[in-house]
């Protein structure tokens, strides 16, 4: 077999199948001439009814827009790129305020190619083992001419995200969907960054790792955009809220035909530096901290020492959470931590309760939504990232401009907890435990409402 890509590429639907499919679907789903008007009227009426229900449930157009926001996160916002945001009309002025002014530093970058690396011999040996020719300047010398350029930096009190454009005439090599004539397939990643700034007359310097990747839609003949994201909780010294912050990133260029994740695939290491204005990251209001007392009982899905799941019913009577809301340009960050619990409550119980439960039927853990009181429509939080074990963090896409347009008293934060309620389509109960040796299984979960709390806004 030549490659995974080519083997999949050979699989295609036959012309006969496509023709049959078009005919069948057109017969079933194309409105007929005579009934066309009636079908349109029915659809229009359905739309009006839905709209009326929506207005009654939500009350204001502004709130309806808020409710419609889903799956938002600052880094996902930045992934679009400025041009794409403008084309899609998805620009949010408040989030744009968190995009800092940035510029490259003088002497901004240098490139170290494979032959110049200490373990060059080992890297070449691995290339041969993976069926690839050893490094040659003829094949890869063009990487020296890559010119990184900082595009955008977004900073709030939780996240530092930045897009760096890799300018090169070989941009298509970074698009795994595009097979260049010379068959090169590369990946780029931020292998870490050194963050430095002045504090009390001294220079503070810290190295952190980043979540990173090429934005597929950004790839063109002239380059590709590398997006990276750092969780600011990983910094031992927090970023300042004014002044300049300097970032020196290590960019690894890897041969995807050797390994696009491990260092054995390295062809080049690029060091690139830029600076940005930290004032864009300041909170817009003081945080609110509230004690939330729980009661009742829930089923938690926990994991044992081998990472296998099991269910357990626990009492929430006497469990107290600390709720902290940070108000930022990029949204309202909601954090829950355990303040106190009765005897018998374990660390594993805490980790299971405060585990982020993502938008997936198979994910268990805490679920947090914001909703209008008495309504089912919910404002779902953005992707929860950066939480330590026993800490739940999510972002509600409520921006400073919204504080004046919605009535906070009409809204509430609802928390629930999802647990595994079906294994391979078979219902399971609170005594369930994953069978030993199980692999390739499917889990379904059920949400249990726990409590509702008022939504405080500045």
């Amino acid at each position: 077999m030549n490659s995974v890509y080519e083997a999949y590429d050979n699989i295609a639907a036959s012309s006969a199948f496509k023709s049959r499919m078009v005919q069948t679907l057109q017969q079933k789903y194309t409105p007929r001439e005579r009934a066309g008007g009636f079908a349109v009227k029915r659809r229009t009426l359905a739309i009006l009814i839905a709209a009326a229900v929506t207005v009654l449930a939500i009350g204001t157009a502004a709130a309806a827009t808020i409710i419609a926001r889903k799956y938002y996160s600052p880094s996902a916002y930045l992934m679009q790129g400025r041009e794409e945001r403008e084309q899609n009309q998805s620009t949010v002025p408040d989030v744009e305020n968190a995009i800092a002014s940035a510029k490259p530093e003088s002497g901004a970058f240098c490139v170290v190619m494979l032959p110049e690396m200490e373990n060059a011999a080992e890297l070449n040996e691995w290339r041969q083992k993976m069926g690839q020719p050893v490094y040659s300047e003829q094949d890869w010398g063009w990487i020296r001419d890559i010119r990184p350029e900082i595009e955008e930096v977004l900073v709030d009190g939780h996240t530092l995200a930045f897009n760096v454009r890799l300018n090169t005439d070989h941009g298509k090599s970074f698009d795994l969907r595009y097979r260049t004539d010379d068959g090169q397939r590369l990946d780029a990643a931020c292998d870490g960054a050194t963050i430095s700034f002045e504090k009390d007359g001294q220079t503070v310097e810290q190295f952190v790792y980043a979540g990173t990747g090429i934005h597929p839609d950004s790839v063109s003949e002239t380059g590709a955009t590398l997006g990276s994201e750092i969780e600011l909780k990983d910094l031992s010294e927090p970023l300042p809220t004014d002044g300049k912050v300097h970032v020196t990133m290590q960019i690894g260029i890897r041969d995807a035909k050797v390994d696009d994740m491990a260092d054995i695939g390295l062809l080049a290491a690029i060091t690139y530096s830029f600076e940005f204005d930290a004032s864009a990251g300041a909170d817009v209001a003081a945080p609110t901290v509230t004690e939330r007392v729980l009661s009742g009982s829930v089923v938690l899905t926990e994991t044992d020492g081998n990472g296998n799941e099991f269910n357990k019913r626990v009492s929430l009577d006497g469990v107290v959470l600390t709720e902290t809301l940070h108000y930022r340009s990029t949204g309202v960050y909601v954090t829950y931590t355990l303040q106190s619990a009765p005897d018998g409550w374990t660390d594993a119980d805490t980790r299971a309760l405060l585990l982020p439960s993502f938008e997936s039927p198979s994910h268990y853990g805490l679920s947090v939504v914001c909703a209008k009181k008495g309504a089912d429509a919910v404002l779902k939080p953005g992707h929860s990232t950066g939480a330590a074990a026993g800490e739940y963090v999510c972002i509600l896409p409520i921006f400073p401009a919204d504080y004046e347009t919605i009535e906070a008293a009409d809204y509430e934060i609802r928390i629930g907890c999802r647990y595994v309620s079906a294994y391979n389509d078979n219902p399971v109960g609170e005594d369930w435990r994953l069978p030993a040796g199980a692999d390739g299984y499917d889990l379904s979960t059920t949400d249990q409402p726990i409590a509702s709390f008022a939504l405080p806004l500045p």
Partner: protein, 163 residues
């Protein structure tokens, strides 16, 4: 006008997405006929529900998730025994395609989806994580494991390019 637009739309989605959906379906279904049923069910669901998409990528992601969901449902209805891949596939497409599917089908089901979405559709791990509804770290571990397993299964053969 509306009838003509709908007909054109059906042609567009069939031409644009049939190949992709068939490949996803063959990761889990054992025969071309079963995979084609999944493709048809996916299109029917799209036309019945008529969701609003903000972009073509959004539309594509919706179809991928729906096809995977339908495959899971169909697999559960059928016998849970691991039905071997129908050899007609080697004749219909290529021996390499048959070998790939046979090999990929030895992976856990979600690993198969991740392999296809990463190596053919070139989604990033973050995008695959979102499509499969899991953390990005889980997807990366899944791909890393799948890569090792695929290497083991394909080892010993004369391949010009490895995974």
């Amino acid at each position: 006008m509306e009838q003509r637009n709908k007909q054109d739309e059906i042609v567009r989605i069939v031409e644009t997405y049939s190949d992709m959906l068939l490949r996803i379906a063959l990761n889990r279904m054992s025969s071309i006929a079963a995979a084609e049923d999944v493709v048809q069910s996916t299109f029917e669901r799209l036309l019945r529900r008529n969701p609003r998409f903000i972009s073509r990528e959004h539309e594509k992601a919706w179809l991928i998730k729906t096809a995977i969901r339908i495959c899971i449902d169909e697999s559960r209805k059928a016998s849970r025994a691991n039905v071997p891949l129908n050899e007609e596939i080697a004749e219909a497409y290529s021996p390499d395609s048959f070998e790939l599917l046979e090999t990929v089908r030895q992976l856990p089901e979600k690993d198969r989806d991740a392999v296809y979405l990463f190596y053919y559709e070139s989604y990033s791990t973050a995008e695959i994580a979102k499509l499969l509804g899991e953390r990005e770290g889980t997807t990366r571990a899944r791909l890393s494991r799948a890569r090792k397993k695929l290497r083991q299964l394909l080892e010993g053969e004369n391949h010009e390019q490895r995974i």
